[in-house]
Structures are given as C-alpha cells and as structure tokens.
C-alpha cells in the first residue's frame, strides 16, 4: 500500500499544509510519497523531502505545471496513480480544484475534507457546515481524498529522503492562465497562524480594520473576517473565515463584532480558545466562546492593544 500526497506550494515555497497532509497519510499507513508539480520547484521538493514519514519525493518540473491548472495537474496525477492505494491533497483551493477531476478520471468516488483517519478505508468528515460529523467507509480500490489540514498536526522534520525527477509534461488546449492578483500581507497566513483576530459587520467599515493591526502585530496574529465584512467590502474575500471561506483552528481566535452565524462557526469552532468581543450579549458567538466580553469594540480594541 502506498499513499501519494500532492504537495501544496506557492512562489517556490512549500506550504505548511503539506506536512499536515503527510500526517494524515502516515495515519493511513504504508509508504508515503509526495508529488511536487510545478515550475522551478527544486526548493519545494527539497523541503518536502525533510518531512518525517515521507519515503520519496517525485518532482514534475515543467512550464506546463507553473500555475497548477487543474486540467494539466489532474492528467499528471492520473498518469502516476496506478502505484498508489490513496491519493491525498490539502483541501485548499488548489486541492479542491484538482482532486475531484482526478477522481472522476479514475472513476472513483472522492472523500472530501477529512478531519480524522479511522483506518485505511474509513474517515471522519464534517457535513452540514460542521453541524454533524460523518464517518464514511470508502469501498473504492483507490481512495482519492482531500484533507482539512487544520485538523492534523504538522509532521516534524527528518533527514532528507530520495528526490526523483520525472520528465513528464501535460499540456492541454482547454485552459490557460491569464493573471493573478495577490492580496499583499506581511502577516502569517490565515490557515497556519497560531492566533487569528477577525472582524465582522460590527467593524462598520474597512478603515476600522486598522484597529486590529496593532493587536495582530503584538500577538503575531493573522487577520480574518466574517462573510458580512467581506460582502460589505470592508476587506478582500481571501480573509473570509467560514464554510465558504477558510477553515482555521488556531490556538487563539478572537472574534470582534461577529455575531456567530452557522457559516462562520463552521470555519473556526475547532480553535483551541475562542474569545468574543461583542456588544450584543445574545450574540450566538458567546455560546462557543471560552471568554466573552460584552462591550463596544471601539472602546475595547485600543484598551486591548495597550494591555498586551
């Protein structure tokens, strides 16, 4: 039994999700191999080789994989698939885009966003915006799975394993990359940050999000937002935490001016400690918060920054 993990990387760097997906792969058992598909990804491959539990890193370095378009990457994974009993990727936008295409090409039902491994065939995954946890057993001969990285700890480092270069390239006439617009940020990435502070509709406008900066700086936190704040145009959508945005599970999550709708809770309720700051004592967020402060956020935020 061998497990293939698709590496998550960006700007020539391996993303921390990969070490978490490898953890899920190790829990499944068997040899774990990592596939790095991209362009100029030697550094990514070397970083992947250092993740404990990885037996081999396979690298497909080609201009065809530069933007990780699903059409190209899926064909590549299908080409390599026959040696593996399990194919895993992070449930990031890249993994979610590519893996179901792989799954259908292999004629296999996929299991999405697992949060637990029971055995090699059985997995736990949240459904209904995290309001229920389903245990599912896949009867497929090959399992195609996306992993909710925030539910697994990162594997530690090891001495580098073998790195094999594949001379494979897949080109298609179906799709082409046009452009990318990155959200600039000096802060840690939302998915990986140990502390997240998020603002909601209660922030009133985009300028007021600056009130979170000082606190985030002091805590080394990433800044998130509720869908209400994104839809109102306060902040860009890649800051959204929730069922339709990012799923985070930091050590500390501070929700400021967020009521706590089902969809938002789906994205953060596995945080270790939750703090809610809201002036409405009946806001549902207080039902999941470990520490709640009923107060006007405009009074509290400067005080909090000063107290840290």
């Amino acid at each position: 039994m061998s497990v293939l993990v698709i590496a998550e990387h960006e700007h020539g760097q391996l993303k921390p999700e990969t070490a978490k997906v490898v953890n899920a792969a190790v829990a499944i058992g068997g040899d774990v191999e990592v596939l790095v598909a991209g362009h100029n990804v030697a550094d990514v491959a070397n970083s992947a080789a250092l993740i404990a539990g990885v037996n081999k890193v396979r690298v497909a370095d080609s201009a065809a994989f530069e933007h990780q378009l699903a059409e190209n990457t899926a064909d590549l994974i299908v080409e390599l698939a026959s040696s593996y009993s399990h194919i895993l990727a992070s449930a990031s936008t890249t993994g979610k885009n590519t893996l179901p295409r792989v799954s259908a090409l292999l004629d296999k039902s996929q299991v999405s966003e697992i949060v637990g491994v029971v055995d090699a065939d059985t997995f736990k995954r949240p459904i209904y915006a995290g309001n229920a946890i389903a245990t599912v057993k896949s009867n497929e001969s090959q399992k195609v799975i996306t992993v909710r990285a925030s539910a697994f700890d990162a594997q530690v480092e090891q001495g580098a394993c073998e790195v094999e270069n594949l001379s494979l390239s897949m080109d298609n006439a179906l799709s082409a990359f046009v452009s990318v617009e990155q959200t600039e940020s000096e802060r840690p990435e939302l998915n990986a940050a140990p502390v997240v502070i998020s603002g909601g509709r209660g922030m009133q406008n985009g300028e007021n999000f600056a009130l979170l900066n000082g606190i985030a700086d002091k805590l080394g936190a990433a800044i998130g937002a509720s869908r209400a704040a994104v839809d109102a145009g306060f902040v860009p959508n890649d800051m959204q935490v929730g069922q339709t945005g990012k799923i985070v599970a930091p050590d500390l999550y501070i929700a400021v001016g967020i009521s706590g709708a089902i969809q938002h809770l789906a994205g953060m309720k596995d945080s270790k400690v939750i703090v809610a700051i809201n002036k409405d004592p009946d806001a549902p967020i207080f039902q999941v918060a470990d520490y709640g402060l009923v107060a006007d956020l405009f009074d509290v935020l400067p005080e909090l920054e000063a107290a840290l």
């Binding site: 960006e10 699903a70 059409e71 936008t93 979610k96 885009n97 590519t98 179901p100 295409r101 792989v102 799954s103 259908a104 296999k108 039902s109 996929q110 299991v111 999405s112 966003e113 059985t122 459904i127 209904y128 995290g130 309001n131 229920a132 946890i133 245990t135 599912v136 057993k137 009867n139 298609n172 006439a173 179906l174 799709s175 990359f177 046009v178 452009s179 990318v180 617009e181 990155q182 959200t183 502390v195 805590l219 994104v230 839809d231 959508n237 890649d238 339709t244 990012k246 500390l252 400690v273 939750i274 207080f286 470990d290 520490y291 709640g292 402060l293 009923v294 005080e303 909090l304 840290l308």
Partner: protein, 250 residues
C-alpha cells in the same frame, strides 16, 4: 449559446441540522428545504448571460425525488426557459451526479454548464470538477467573475491568497463562488408563469449510469460540544485569563 444549470434541493441554510438519535444520518423530516445558495448564484449568472444576449437558452436540471421539482419551478420563475428533472430515490454521490449530468450534457450539448461550487449539506465541492473531467471540458471553479467572448470564457477564480484569472475554451464548466452575483427574487407573476414552462422528467435508470453506492455512511454524530465559557468584565481580566488560565498568550 445554450447554458445548463444543475441545481440541488438542500436543507435551508438558516436551519441548524440535527443528528438522528440512532446516529444513522441527519434528520430531514419536517425541515425547511430550499435551493442550495451556490446554485441560486449559478441560476442568476445564467439568466444574466441571457439578458446580455450571450445565452440563448437556460436549462435548469435537478436530480432527486419528486420534491426537487419545487426548486426547478423556482429556477423557472427566476428566468430559466425549461427544466429537466432526473428522477431517482437513490442516495447519490457526487460522482453519480456528475455521470448523470454528463449524459445530459451529451444530449443537450450546452456550451456552458454553471454549477454551485458546493452544496451546503454534503459540503463535497466535487460535482463541477468531476463533470468537467467526464465531459473532457475545461473547468473554472470558484468563479467570482465570468466574461464570455470570442469562444472563450474568462473566469476570475477565488483562490487562497487572492484572485486568479483563467481563459477557458468553450464548451466549459464553471462553478460559482458567493461573490459572483447577488441572486434576484422571483416575482409573483413570474412564479405564476413558471407553472406553464416545460418541465421534462427523465428516469435516472434510463440513462444507463451505475448508481450503486461506493461510499458507505457508517454513522453521523454531533460534533464535540464546546464547554460553556465565561463572561469577563474588563479587558484587563480578559488579558489576565488568556495569560494565566488559557496560556495562549505570553
């Protein structure tokens, strides 16, 4: 250009799902059902393409028991031209749905299929991608902007870290993100008119797709409950507790 819009009947997004006492599944008896929010956005986008003169016909399709005709009527009231109900009582996985839709794509030959990026019940986020694979078409997932011109679809996608734009050769499959548009409401006259629009029923069995389950639902449980927290009186108390009690900051 013909546009096909698959829609799904799901639990209303405001309703908190309850797990059955025997842990066999989520209890959907007497629960309010509605069109999946991402599917509403897909319908809206198709109708806007029609209003812009880009699309000539919008076909809504839903797969499931008879009750999903209610959501098809909603799609017709919103502006779809006709509807197709693929009838089955079977519990389907995304792959089954994609295979049934692929058969329909073969029959109808739409140049664009717009689906929601995920249904809010199973949270799979698979069907659009699988349909693209099975029909050997390009895919533009998590779309927040779609521009059709010169045989291509320029799709702006919401990705981790920002926005990515791809150019897809038509025919293509697009899945919608929440920010693609704001769906309209159906007016009463349009709801009345929708009752006279064509709604064809096809038996799923007649499409020659093997619908046997491949993934078994072993059990469904309530997620771990969080312990009730405390309300603190001041910022000072909050910081102290975070430092000494929760030990999450230093």
């Amino acid at each position: 250009m013909k546009v096909l819009v698959p829609i799904k009947r799901v639990i209303d997004y405001n309703v908190k799902a309850r797990v059955k006492p025997d842990n066999s599944d989520v209890d959907l008896t007497n629960v309010k059902m509605a069109m999946n929010p991402f599917c509403e956005i897909a319908v809206e986008e198709a109708i806007r393409l029609k209003e812009a003169g880009t699309a000539s016909e919008v076909i809504a399709v839903s797969i499931g028991d008879k009750a999903c005709q209610e959501q098809l009527r909603t799609a017709l009231a919103l502006g779809a031209d006709r509807a197709i109900h693929i009838e089955t009582d079977a519990k389907l996985e995304s792959l089954h749905v994609a295979k049934l839709l692929a058969k329909l794509v073969e029959q109808e030959q739409p140049e664009l299929v717009i689906l929601g990026k995920q249904s809010i019940d199973s949270d799979n986020n698979q069907t659009g991608q699988m349909l693209a694979a099975l029909t050997k078409r390009s895919q533009g997932t998590f779309a927040s902007k779609v521009v059709i011109e010169a045989g291509k679809a320029q799709v702006t996608r919401e990705v981790d870290g920002g926005l990515q734009t791809v150019s897809l050769t038509l025919p293509a499959i697009v899945t919608t993100d929440l920010r693609l548009n704001e769906p309209r409401y159906a007016s009463l006259p349009n709801i009345m008119k929708a009752k006279r629009k064509p709604l064809d029923v096809i038996a799923a069995d007649s499409l020659g797709v093997d619908l046997a389950p491949r993934i078994e639902l072993v059990k469904v449980e309530e997620p771990a409950k969080r312990e009730a927290g405390v309300i603190v009186e001041s910022v000072e108390e909050l910081v102290t507790k975070l430092k000494t009690e929760a030990k999450v900051i230093s």
